[in-house]
Structure formats: structure tokens, C-alpha cells
């Protein structure tokens, strides 16, 4: 069979020229981003069920604000509109997950807009931002509207934030019970001891209540008050498993982060002499935003180191900072600030952990 010149020409019509390699992995940025969104769905849906459908409204507002901000900024900055890559959706979703369930809707709207406009696009867009946009957005909201950001927790039918009844020794005054039941578990741990001291009461019953099997169970299942995304440890871990399985994230940051928090808390409570040491450690691992932060926000690729050693250092740094803030800082929770601070020194970590070149 002779191939004619005309045939040859026709054969080459669809030809593409590019440098090697000519095959590529199937994972792409949009796929990675949408996988993250998917992995957050179990916890998100559970939160809507637990705290009511208003939560869905908060989440949708946050996401829409992120998307709109992204489109407007990319249009103004004459950048290609890349909103379909899913990164703005993640920012909106993660920001919402870091808010109390009953915030007014302008909070997520402003927070997401700040995250996308200032923290992401003004720094150059996806890949160039130094700080995790969702966390920086949360920090901005917390600094600007502290009351909205720290009091609008969900109250369960019994009137408490901590879902189970905090039944105490009869000696506990109503004042104390109110203070505990109106705060998240971490908030209770932070505020109650001061109050107890003022009232010159024993702190023991409080620790017995917080560091208990029942409390750990609640935290694990998610039957507890807190931010939208801080509810169910097990559902967050389910999503994290998906990301680990699909190799979107690696174990390095989450494991080193959580292990460091556990170690710090273990050392602290060992020396302060809490009876149920293992419950104290588990309490700190499962409460607040640690699981959410360690698996979904500290692992943000853009703002974390690129080397495996760097990732472990990053995780350890986050763990130490989060523990210090929780134990001695002004806020009950330190996860978001720990990650933001470590984001800031990521370039330094990357520089210091450059691997030895093969043969060098």
C-alpha cells in the first residue's frame, strides 16, 4: 500500500509537537481541588444535620462570596478566570468550617472576600499566596468581630454547647455550670479553671468531666459544640483517608502535627498531675480544629513545604505552637494561628531542607 503525498499530509493534520515526556499522570489541579471538596463533604453534611440547615446557608454564602471575589479579581487583574479549578470553592468551604454555626451571613461573605481578594489574588493568585487564605480570612474576622466569632455557638436542646449534661458535684455553683455549658470544650478548659480559682473551688471535677470517656466519645462522633467543621473527628478522618488514598496529601504533616500536640499535652498534663492522662491527650487531639487543621489546612500545598523533611518540621512546628497557644495563650484554640505562623516560615524551611543532590 503506497501512502500518497496527500494522504501523508492528511495523516499529519492532528499532529502536536511538544517536548517530552509525551504522557502525563491523570491527576490535575482541578481534580486535586475537587477531591479535597469531596473529602470535606461527610463532615459538612453532618454539621448541617447537627446544627441545622442555617449552617448550609453559611457555607453557601461563604463559597459564593469566594467564587465571586475570585472572578472579579481575576477580571480586574486581567488574569485568566480559573474559578473552575475548585480552589476558591475550597477556600470558601474551609472558611465556613472555621466559623461558629450561627454567625450572621455577612461574616462569611466578608471573610471569604478578604481571603480571596487580599490573601490570595493580591499575592498573585493560586500558587503564590504565602498564607492559607481561609485561615487568614478567619484570623481577620476574629480580630475584627470577636464577639460574633466567639459566642454564636450552637446550643443543644438542653441549652448547653457541650451536648451532654455537665452534671457536677452539687458543690458547683450555677455560675460555673453556665460558663462551661456556654462554651466549646476547649473554651471550657480555658475559662473554667480561672473561675474555679476565683471561687476557690477544686478543679478536679472539671477535669473529671472534660477528660472522660464520655467526652472523648462525643468528640469522636461529633456530638459537640464548636465551629462548623470541628464537629465529627471520625467523618473528618474518613475524608482524610480519601485524600491519603488518592495521594492528594501525604501523612507527613498531619501525623507530625497531631503527634506533636499529643506529646506536648502528654508532657504538660503528666507534670500537672491529671489523673486520666490518656483522656487528656485524646481530648486535645480530638477537640477544636486539630483534625480539620492537620489534615485539610496545614496540608495546603501552596503554603506548606515541598520536601518531606520540611513537611515534618512544619508539622512539628504547628504542633508546638498550637499546644503553647492552647495551654498558655489568650485563645482557647491555637490551630489556625499555628498554621498561619508556620506558613510564614515555609520558604525558610524549604531552603533549609533542600535534599542533597544525587552524587553531590
Amino acid at each position: 500500500m503506497e501512502i500518497k503525498d496527500a494522504d501523508k499530509k492528511r495523516l499529519l493534520e492532528d499532529l502536536v509537537l511538544s517536548s517530552p515526556p509525551h504522557i502525563k499522570d491523570t491527576q490535575s489541579v482541578p481534580l486535586v481541588m475537587w477531591l479535597v471538596v469531596l473529602s470535606l463533604m461527610p463532615a459538612t453534611i453532618f454539621s448541617c444535620y447537627l446544627y441545622g440547615l442555617y449552617v448550609a446557608l453559611v457555607i453557601v454564602t461563604s463559597i459564593i462570596s469566594a467564587i465571586v471575589s475570585e472572578i472579579i479579581m481575576q477580571y480586574l487583574l486581567k488574569r485568566p478566570i480559573t474559578v473552575n479549578d475548585g480552589s476558591a470553592v475550597i477556600t470558601g468551604l474551609l472558611l465556613a468550617m472555621n466559623l461558629p454555626p450561627h454567625v450572621p451571613l455577612w461574616i462569611p461573605a466578608i471573610g471569604s472576600a478578604f481571603a480571596i481578594i487580599i490573601v490570595k489574588q493580591l499575592f498573585g493568585g493560586l500558587g503564590y499566596n504565602i498564607f492559607n487564605p481561609a485561615l487568614a480570612g478567619r484570623a481577620f474576622l476574629l480580630a475584627s468581630w470577636p464577639v460574633e466569632m466567639t459566642t454564636l455557638w450552637h446550643r443543644f436542646p438542653n441549652g448547653y454547647v457541650i451536648a451532654q449534661n455537665p452534671i457536677f458535684n452539687a458543690a458547683m455553683p450555677q455560675q460555673l455550670i453556665d460558663s462551661i455549658s456556654g462554651a466549646t470544650p476547649l473554651g471550657a478548659l480555658k475559662e473554667a479553671p480561672k473561675l474555679l480559682q476565683e471561687l476557690s473551688l477544686q478543679a478536679q471535677p472539671l477535669y473529671d468531666f472534660l477528660f472522660s470517656n464520655a467526652m472523648i466519645k462525643s468528640l469522636f462522633i461529633g456530638n459537640i459544640g464548636g465551629c462548623i467543621g470541628e464537629t465529627s473527628a471520625i467523618l473528618l478522618l474518613l475524608g482524610a483517608l480519601l485524600l491519603l488514598w488518592k495521594k492528594v496529601i501525604t501523612w507527613h504533616i498531619p501525623l507530625s502535627y497531631i503527634a506533636t500536640v499529643a506529646a506536648c499535652m502528654g508532657i504538660y498534663y503528666y507534670f500537672t498531675g491529671v489523673p486520666n492522662l490518656h483522656y487528656a491527650i485524646l481530648f486535645h487531639v480530638l477537640s477544636g480544629g486539630l483534625i480539620l487543621g492537620a489534615f485539610f489546612m496545614a496540608t495546603d500545598m501552596v503554603t506548606s513545604p515541598v520536601t518531606k523533611t520540611g513537611m515534618i518540621i512544619f508539622g512539628i512546628g504547628c504542633g508546638i505552637l498550637a499546644s503553647i497557644i492552647r495551654l498558655w495563650g489568650g485563645y482557647p484554640e491555637g490551630v489556625s494561628y499555628s498554621i498561619l505562623i508556620m506558613n510564614g516560615i515555609t520558604p525558610l524551611i524549604d531552603k533549609l531542607t533542600r535534599p542533597k543532590v544525587f552524587g553531590a
Binding site: P20, K24, D25, R354, F358, G359
Partner: protein, 439 residues
Amino acid sequence: MIVHSFHGGIHPPDNKHFTNRIPFKYLSIPQKSFIPLQQHIGKPATPVVEAGQLVEEGQLIGQANGLISANVHATVPGKVVEIAEYHTPYSEHGLCVVIESDGSFNTSGKVRQKNDFLSLDKEALIEKVQSAGIVGLGGAAFPTAVKLNPPANRTIDTLIINGSECEPYLTVDDMLMQTHPEEIIEGIQIAMKILGINKAYLGIEKNKPLAIKALQTAVANVKTHEIVIIPLNKRYPQGAEKQLIYTITKREVPSGGLPMDVHVVVQNVGTIYAIREAVLFDKPLIERYITVTGKIVRKPGNYKVRFGMRVSDILEECGGLVENPSKIIMGGPMCGLALNHMDIPVVKGTSGILFLAKNETKVTPFRSCIRCGRCVSVCPMNLIPCDLGNAAEKQRYDIAEKLHPFDCIMCGSCSYICPSKRPLSHFIKVVQTTLSAKR
């Protein structure tokens, strides 16, 4: 023996099933052969024939020009039509000897006298390899005689034969090992005699069980030398020289250095086969096995091809394509060269021709780096490809220079894995060329 592993690497789908059970076939001789005078790294050969001259099969038509060069022989008998510039894999204007086939094949298919290589000394053996124009058939096409004759201040204690064939799709080395195991072992013994050593390793990726079995059987009869067959884990780029040496001997070729710096010589199995033919039968290198493959090729397979046969002629012999190709690649999909037309001849370093359909090779615009670090974890040389890519994109060659761009082996693993589809190895190539030009 413990087989170590190298850092990084990727697992692309190997797609060898198209051809890894198809025995070799000869392709018929094309009317016209376009034989480039440069089919190797180094200087092009100097033509020693003239237009109008009749040449015999295997006659010298290009004389090696200097040490790093290689002889070129007439691959078909016939008349030299012209010596002119044509598009070759190495150059858009590569000097080619064009031969119109005619006359008789006076060497092909005839039983030949077998030389006794044991009676020949090192110099005589190297001379045979050199005059046969043998170059590395794995793809790099470095003159083999030079590699087998390291300077006196470099001692060699180990020969490594590369049978890993880690490039997806390609199956020539696999088929050669399946069908010619005794010949390969004999070739290894010749190379060991040239190098004056007693130890050789043959590394084969585990996805070639038939080749491993065949060679293990063949090597069982060898008593005089220590030749060890090493099954390697399937991982790209296992066949890269430095990674192969490290995997088998745990020696790291120093940055900017050569295998001989760690007392090792590496040869591809195809080259070993060619060395044997040259030494035992004085046969010049005029043909090789190639894999013609791809989902859209009507008759994919492993074929014996004479150098100078053009891709279009080969495709005709393979029954054409079922749909228009999106890419025509000379070599494998990871390191091969994309062709822009099919009038390009097969040369000594061509291990295969791959036709990819539209859905198999998407060229999408690349996005900005999201710093996921996947390129860092797959880089077999421990580089930071993402930073190199970003520096190259902004033309900050001062930054790129500090990131060891010249240690890159161009394996393409970083580009393969990048979720932003950034052409990282291309960026690094740009850095290398720009910095070299400045020096």
C-alpha cells in the same frame, strides 16, 4: 543479593502488552534509504563515497571524524543517489547518504565464519567494535569503543548490562533477551574480556519474566565468569545510567562525573548484541531492532530495520494507522522525540516509533505551580524541579543556576507527575541551554 532502590521515580502505565509477545520480523528494504552521517553523539562522520557510486551492503560510507564519532556503513546495497541535507533525528539539516537499493545482498542470510574472540587481544577487539560503528543502542548513541576503553587512570571492576527497558511501550530489549539469551551472554563475555574484568550484572525489570527466565537459563552454563541476573523493581527511570548503577552497586556517580568514576561501565543489551556480531562476524552496525507500537497502529510489533529507512516507509509496512496520530514519537513516551513529519529516517539510537492517539497525549495549557512537591518526591536526582521551573519561567537564570540544573538527567518524571501540567523538564532544559550558552 540485596537489590537497593533509587530515590524517587514514577509508575506510568507501561503499555508493553501491545508488542511484548510478538517475535521479531524483518521489514522489507525501502526503495530509498536516507542514511545520516550523524547517528551518534559527537562529530558527524566524514563521507567517503560520492554520488553515483555503487556501494555494497555494509560498505563504509562515513569515516569516524575524531575520537568521539562513529563509522557509518551502507545499510543496503545500491547506488548512492546523492549526499544531501535532510531532516534527521539529530538535525533539521543533517547530511545524509541517499542510497537507492539495487544489486544483491551479498552478506545477508549467508553463513559466516565465526571468529574466536578468546584468541584476540583487547586492542583487536576494540578495533572491531570501533570499525563496526557501534554506538549505545539504548538511545544515547555514545560511541561504544570509547566507553569500553576508559583512560588508564580509571580502573573498572564492574560491567552493568542495562536490560531494564523502563520506558513504557518499548519491548525491543525484552524481545531480544527472550529470543537471544545465549548470544547476549556471549556478548557480555566479550565485553568483559575487553574490560579485563570478571564481574557483570544484568539488570532486568520484573515486568519481563520471560526475559529473566531465558537469561537465567543461559547464564547457568557459564562457569568462567561471574554474571549475575538482577530482577529490578518496575519503576521509571530504573534504566537511567546513574540510577541503575546505584540500584545494583550502591555507588553514586559523582555530580558531573561518569560511571567510570565509580569503576563501572554500563552497556545496553542491544549494544552487547551488536558488539558480539561485530567481534564474531565482523558485521558492521547496519540494522537494529525497533518497536513500532501504539493503540492506533494496525500491525504493531518488534521489527528488524536497516538504518536510513524512513518512518513513512516503516508505517506502510506496519499496515498504517486506524486514525490520525496526535503524536509520532521516535523513542519512548518519556524521553522520545516528537516528529513533525514522517520523512525522518531511523538511526542507530532509535529504539522505537510510537504513534499516540488524541486521547492518549493531551497537551493542555499549564497552570501555575501549586507547590505540591510531587516533582520533588519523584526526582531521582534529588533536585527541586518546581523551583527550577519557576525560575526558568521568570527567566531568573541566576536563581536557577544555584539549583543544580546540570544534574538533571532529563528523565521527565517531574513533568509527568505535575498536576499543573507544567513542562518542568523542558524548563530545566531551557535553563541548561541558556546557562551553557553564557559560559
